[in-house]
């Protein structure tokens, strides 16, 4: 027998208090989420006038976009963004996988417990605290330079040197997130059928063979899912971290879309131009994430939604 829903008006009346409760939330979504979304489409096609505000400004069509696409600066920023994202992926993708497998395989429950407890902590530190830690280690008077000097070496200006910027950004992010990154793989590992391991033991397979033939295929879907997710976010290269770590001496290698939008928009008050850049970033980002999701769903059957 088919379940019949009561009339719409009766259902609405039944939930009146719930509507009342979510009313402020709907206003919030409207004002703080959807209105800015709408505003960015308007602003990107206007020339913002400080006196007239958004609505008193003049429409300029695609001018903001032709302006940024004609700038060398923009391509520098774009390439920095993509390079830093890909470096993060290249060096940051495998360490959590390796660590998760090692942790999972450990027979000593004590070591595993203690390590897991400690390894997750840095994830919860703010990037400001992280910069403080990095500064203590890598500044001219920091621990690393003290050690270099003890061995008779010259002080390396790690925080101001363009050649050190990207290695520092990428490695400090790996340091912060390696433990946290293992969690999703640990969950995947526990779902592997344990009879497979028993069978491997009977067949006399060593640990490396076991990892190659059972463990890695068992977490393949998690790997592909996370990989596509990061490829989808290739235009977001970690603005919060870079905003703290970079300085005029390292702009050439460190300035990314997020930091460029911040400086051009809020420091130089180029609202329209900065909005056009960030609209470009969101549009490409949206396409990439939709494609990434579709790819992940097709190859391993796991999507974001």
């Amino acid at each position: 027998m088919k379940h019949t829903q009561p009339k719409l008006i009766i259902r609405i009346r039944r939930f009146w208090f719930l509507y009342l409760l979510i009313a402020p939330i709907l206003i919030y979504y409207g004002v703080m989420r959807y209105y800015p979304m709408f505003l960015q489409f308007v602003l990107a096609f206007k020339k913002y006038n400080l006196l007239g505000g958004v609505w008193g400004s003049e429409w300029v069509g695609w001018d903001n976009f032709t302006y940024i696409f004609a700038k060398d600066e923009f391509y520098q920023v774009l390439s920095n963004t993509v390079i830093i994202s890909l470096l993060r992926l290249l060096f940051g993708f495998f360490p959590p996988i390796i660590l998760a497998i090692l942790l999972y395989d450990l027979q000593s429950r004590f070591i595993r417990r203690v390590s897991q407890t400690i390894l997750y902590i840095p994830h919860f530190f703010s990037w400001v605290v992280m910069y403080g830690l990095i500064f203590a280690l890598f500044s001219n008077t920091g621990l690393i330079n003290q050690i270099i000097q003890q061995f008779g070496g010259d002080v390396q200006n790690f925080l101001m040197a363009p050649e050190w910027f990207r290695p520092l950004i990428v490695s400090s992010a790996i340091w912060k997130e390696i433990g946290w990154g293992t969690i999703i793989y640990m969950a995947g590992l526990t779902m592997i059928d344990s009879t497979l391991y028993d069978a491997a033991k009977i067949d006399g397979a060593g640990p490396l063979k076991r990892i190659w033939h059972i463990t890695l295929p068992g977490i393949r879907h998690v790997m592909v899912f996370l990989l596509t997710l990061s490829l989808g976010g290739v235009l977001s290269a970690g603005g919060e971290q870079i905003l703290l770590f970079y300085n005029p001496a390292t702009y050439s290698v460190g300035d990314i879309i997020d930091t460029y939008v911040y400086r051009q928009g809020l420091n130089e008050l180029q609202y329209s131009m900065a909005t056009a850049v960030s609209l470009f970033q969101s549009a490409i980002g949206l396409v990439l994430i939709l494609v990434a999701n579709a790819v992940s769903k097709r190859t391993v059957g796991t999507g974001i939604w």
Binding site: L8, R11, R14, F15, L18, I22, I25, Y28, M32, Y35, P36, L39, Q40, L43, G53, V54, L99, L102, L106, I111, R112, V114, S115, Q116, Y120, I121, P122, F124, F125, S126, V128, V129, Y131, G132, L133, I134, F135, A136, G142, Q146, Q149, Q150, I178, G206, P207, L208, E240, L244, N247, D258, G265, L266, T275, S278, S282, L286, I289, T302, G303, I304
Partner: protein, 292 residues
Amino acid sequence: MSERVYQWTAASIVLLITILSLVPLWYVINGSLVNEQEWMEKGGFILWPEKPTLMAYERLLAGTAFTQALFVSMIRTVLGTALTLSMTTILAYAVSRKSLPGRKALLFAVLVTILFGGGLIPSYLVVRDLQMLNTIWALIIPSMVDSWSVLVLKQFFENLPEEMEESAKIDGAGEGRLMWAIMIPMAAPAMAAIGLFTAVGHWNSWFDSLIYIDNAQLHPLQLLIRNMFTNASLSVQQNLGQASYAMNAHNRVSIETLKMALVVFGTIPILCVYPFLQKHFTKGMYLGAVKG
């Protein structure tokens, strides 16, 4: 490779990474515990303080800039978490009610905000036009509802046993009683997790105060720490208690030590709630959300 060799290798690598993830914090804590004399003698190479002193912390707590920033951070964390948690719970409950008219549209509206944001400048302009610049509200209202948490909590509400709902209805409980007296109390563990993560987020955030707050008296701790490291402006450092200058290096702390003490302060609340956090994320609740 034999299993024994593998176990030894695995244990060594895991322990090495574990130690490496402790070293920076260890160094900074020790560096925050020495006077200027010891700092100079060892050239900042402090792996174990010989005469540990809390002088840096006393200096910080004596300065108004620091205590004000601490206060702002505490206010935003408490108010912001309370508001976000209540709003997120209400919305999550609403979209978990299958018979609620308009549920699909609401859910869609929430999902869209995960995929597409308003961007930095438009968000800034809205906060500005609402006259929220230089007020605590600029740090609380823009992040009032977290769409991800809404989905996590919705999932949790949907997984609650349906018999609860049915027996409540048989007992004559209306929708209101069902929500307040039955469903929300049962979601307490999930709400605790979301509350903790929200609180950590509030305590850690600094970028919103950078763009929304000019008035230095309203800066939260994280922004104060950031300014101390990146601006190196003398005024910030003087405000932090260096003004009371002692002649004797035994009674002074170096500026580096003061900075380290600030960083330690930035981590203390995190380390305090960490055991509770760990309980929640090891249960894998956030993973359930990721996998949908």
